[in-house]
């Protein structure tokens, strides 16, 4: 499903405002959102996912107004992966994934056979099947991050929004998560907010740059990726070196 934002505006009482005149996310593929801290990456994802209400404008998902969708319809279309959990309740990993199936079971959230299949599938994709009975506080932060992604996969939505899925992870876990994302890219639209320009460059099919709440650039295919635009977005110098983006120090 493609996502279109038209004249979306949102102002916080802190003074920060997000203004997007027009932004399209094509169906399928991975879009990376780049931008310095406080540029509105997370806000943009939260607005698309329906967690934050925006002041004016339209967001269309597959041609449908997001404001006219019910909570459940939206939850069956978009899943959101937060950068982490603020507090870890004393529940098991499996219970976390059950939350992903809530839009399909509703009410008491009693799961049926299909729901359990989806959960098992998501656990397998994220290589967490052995740990499904672990409590959340027994998981490492990499496992927890994968668990959050597994929840989004179990939610079985066309669109997955991920907010900083690589923050605070060691390289091995980062590569593992990149592999998970690549394994689901064929049938889902994925939007990532990322800090690591190298990962974005390597992983994404298209890139969006945000600065101070406004669009800075959009590259809708890999050919158009422009390292100079990224440099001026951050105000630093990146160099392409054997296909990798390397930050240079002066």
């Amino acid at each position: 499903m493609n996502i279109t934002l038209e004249n979306v505006e949102l102002t916080y009482n802190t003074g920060f405002s997000l203004k997007i005149n027009r932004l399209d996310f094509a169906k399928g593929g991975i879009t990376g959102i780049l931008g310095p801290n406080g540029s509105g990456k997370s806000t943009l994802l939260e607005v698309i996912s329906g967690i934050l209400k925006y002041d004016s404008g339209n967001i269309l998902i597959g041609g449908k107004h997001i404001a006219r969708m019910t909570n459940v319809q939206r939850a069956q279309t978009i899943s959101y992966v937060p950068p982490g959990l603020d507090n870890l309740p004393m529940i098991r990993l499996y219970n976390l994934l059950e939350a992903g199936r809530y839009p399909y079971s509703l009410g008491f959230g009693i799961l049926d056979g299909k729901d359990r299949e989806k959960i098992d599938e998501a656990l397998n994709v994220c290589d967490l099947y052995d740990k499904k009975n672990y409590f959340l506080n027994q998981l490492s932060s990499g496992e927890l991050q994968r668990a959050l992604i597994a929840k989004a996969i179990a939610q079985d939505t066309n669109i997955i929004l991920m907010d900083e899925p690589f923050s605070n992870l060691d390289p091995a876990y980062t590569i593992k998560i990149i592999e998970i994302i690549k394994s689901v890219r064929t049938y889902k639209t994925i939007i990532l907010a990322v800090h690591d320009v190298n990962i974005a460059y390597f992983l994404c099919d298209s890139l969006v740059g945000l600065k101070k709440g406004e669009l800075f650039f959009t590259f809708d295919n890999r050919e158009k990726f422009d390292i100079k635009a990224i440099n001026s977005l951050y105000g630093v110098v990146f160099k392409l070196c054997e296909g990798n983006v390397v930050l240079t120090f002066r």
């Binding site: 019910t70 309740p89 809530y102 959230g109």
Partner: protein
């Protein structure tokens, strides 16, 4: 509990039904056993004989009221702890007990000494407070768990100082009556009134229980709940208004009986886990039975002295709670 090898038990409708039935049968057993105790032991087979009719007419409303207090406050405490993300949240945290106490104080002051008018006055004060807290916390547009709890706690202090002020300027008798009310009592209640409020509490508790699935999702965070299709505003209103109504009814009937609403949910959650579909049922029935047993125990052991129930729940409950807490750490 933290044993990852232990396989997770899936919650199914039949499992919920089993929990419900087992707790129901257990509760009925506890309640009927409690009817036997008091100043005079009455054999369960002689409950309906005419010579015991008087005692039964005294004990039945009392035990049902005990059950209502424990069950209602526990289930409200259980959902409030999750909803407010605060282990210290209890049914009285939103200022309802304070409001009801002010209602009682006013009725004592203006002299409506009747039993029912006092309850109506304290109930209406509590209901007005529910609306006020909701309005002050931001109304329909921007009410959040945090703003509710802040307004509630602030209001609690306000009511406490009103009561203290009343206490110091009015006579000694008044102070005594109010203290008596605060300690809570389930003694002189009419069976009709108890049955009506018990039904009301059961009804409202089932509405709260309908939210158990959403509470499970909400446990992981508000953003998480929204992304799982929970209409957070509707959910908030049901938890807040439903919980507050239960509390208001109980407080107006039996006074501010503390402790049950905060400790029973913790004990149940520690032992049975955080799945609200299970632990709300258990909170309801265990909380109810706890108060019934405590009240029956104290009234039997100290007979003929009436020990105010609000004062003694903590005597038994706290050591047990600390034991559970220590065992789990």
């Amino acid at each position: 509990m933290q044993n990852p090898q232990k396989a997770i038990k899936q919650v199914t409708y039949s499992r919920i039904l089993i929990y419900l039935l087992v707790s129901l049968i257990f509760s009925i057993a506890v309640l009927s056993l409690s009817l036997s105790f008091g100043g005079k032991f009455i054999n369960p087979f002689e409950f309906f004989s005419s010579e015991n009719a008087v005692f039964m007419s005294l004990r039945l409303p009392r035990i049902l009221a005990d059950f209502m207090v424990g069950a209602g406050l526990s289930i409200v405490g259980c959902s409030f702890q999750t909803y407010f993300r605060n282990p210290l949240a209890d049914p009285f945290i939103l200022g309802i007990a304070g409001a009801a106490a002010v209602g009682v104080a006013v009725s004592l002051y203006i002299g409506v000494s009747g039993f029912i008018p006092t309850q109506i006055l304290s109930l209406s004060f509590a209901l007005a407070t529910i609306l006020f807290v909701y309005w002050a916390a931001g109304g329909l547009t921007s009410v959040t768990a945090n703003s509710l709890i802040l307004v509630g706690v602030g209001l609690n202090f306000f009511f406490t100082s009103i009561i203290t002020f009343f206490n110091s300027v009015l006579s000694e008798n008044f102070t005594k009556d109010l203290l008596m009310w605060y300690l809570g009592s389930t003694v002189f209640l009419d069976i009709d009134l108890v049955l009506i409020s018990l039904l009301l509490v059961i009804l409202l508790s089932s509405i709260l229980y309908m939210q158990s699935g959403k509470l499970n999702v909400y446990l992981l965070g508000e953003a998480f709940a929204i992304n799982s299709g929970v209409d957070i505003r509707k959910f908030s209103i049901i938890i807040y208004v439903g919980g507050s109504l239960i509390t208001s009814v109980i407080v107006a009937m039996c006074g501010a009986i503390g402790f049950v609403g905060i400790i029973i949910p913790h004990i149940v959650k520690i032992i049975f886990g955080l799945d609200h579909r299970i632990n709300m049922i258990l909170c309801f029935f265990i909380g109810g039975c706890f108060v019934v047993v405590i009240d029956t125990f104290f009234k039997t052991v100290f007979f003929p002295y009436e020990v105010p129930i609000g004062a003694v729940t903590a005597i038994i409950g706290t050591p047990f709670f600390i034991y559970i807490l220590r065992r789990r750490i």
